[in-house]
Symmetry: C2
Subunit: 139 residues, 2 copies
DNA sequence: CCATACTGTAACTATAATCGTTACAGTTAT
DNA sequence: ATAACTGTAACGATTATAGTTACAGTATGG
């Protein structure tokens, strides 16, 4: 499987919200955000669905509605964004059934999972230190 | 894009070579390895092509030929395996053209790349510490 | 020296994941 | 009421990856 770009789009989207918030804009519509990302508004709304579940954004429905950050950018870590939109870790194991006569084949899944967990932990540590504010301040 | 499983297959393949080497087996054919991974022999040979370029394995052609490790398992780090088979880092940025009027859109690529590099560095550090021997010893 | 069993690689097809689109129901402001 | 939004389902398009077929090249061993 090719790697997901959901995380990068999520960071982009939240950065737009954070950036405009600084300029006094309270609500941003999904189609405005879609313009910035250069994609379809529905793609943004689907992503927002995940970000809402993670309580990173809130929305106002109806006319003149839109999206806004649920917290201050300094209180949103990239790690939270990551886990909100990516279900799997950074390394993915192949999922073929094992070949019973081979001990390596039988044990591979478990062994790889341990490596995978360790890598995910290191990634989480890096992302935990960075907040959305750190990103927004660069614009 | 769905995430690549090339790394996990590469670790599996090299583990098979390392494991059998311990049992005195000098050469393993691509179809034997394919059985263990539960895939096609050509998939293995294509992967081996990358691993040969990285000088992690060698091959003997012709009848009774096969593949073998170029170095001892203790001298092969998971980091080397990773960079041999994965061209991109663990985080991938979306590649849409930017929307010129939006500063976030214009700057996003560069900003995300910095995060990406930092994450890749952390992953490399973890993988560098682990060798193929550490993996093989678990079987 | 020919049959056999391998590697190496190109070219093509199949499959699956993701993205994008259409459509429409629900909600709120004016 | 109408217009402008969000929310979500369903479907189609696109793309990445895996798998397959085919065959040339190479070494071994009878």
């Amino acid at each position: 499987m090719a790697e997901s770009t959901r995380f990068s789009v999520a960071v982009h989207v939240l950065s737009v919200l954070g950036y405009l918030e600084q300029s006094g804009v309270k609500l941003v519509s999904s189609s405005q955000i879609a313009q910035s990302v250069n994609t379809n508004a529905v793609v943004i709304r689907n992503l927002m669905s995940a970000l809402k579940k993670a309580k990173l954004v809130r929305s106002k429905e109806g006319k003149n509605g839109g999206l806004y950050l649920a917290r201050k950018p300094s209180q949103i870590s990239l790690q939270e964004i990551y886990s909100a939109v990516e279900t799997e870790g950074v390394l993915s194991s192949h999922q073929k059934p094992h070949f019973a006569p081979c001990p390596v084949s039988r044990g591979m899944k478990k062994v790889f999972l341990n490596v995978s967990k360790e890598v995910d932990g290191a990634v989480a540590k890096v992302l935990h230190k960075k907040t959305l504010k750190d990103i927004v301040d660069q614009f």
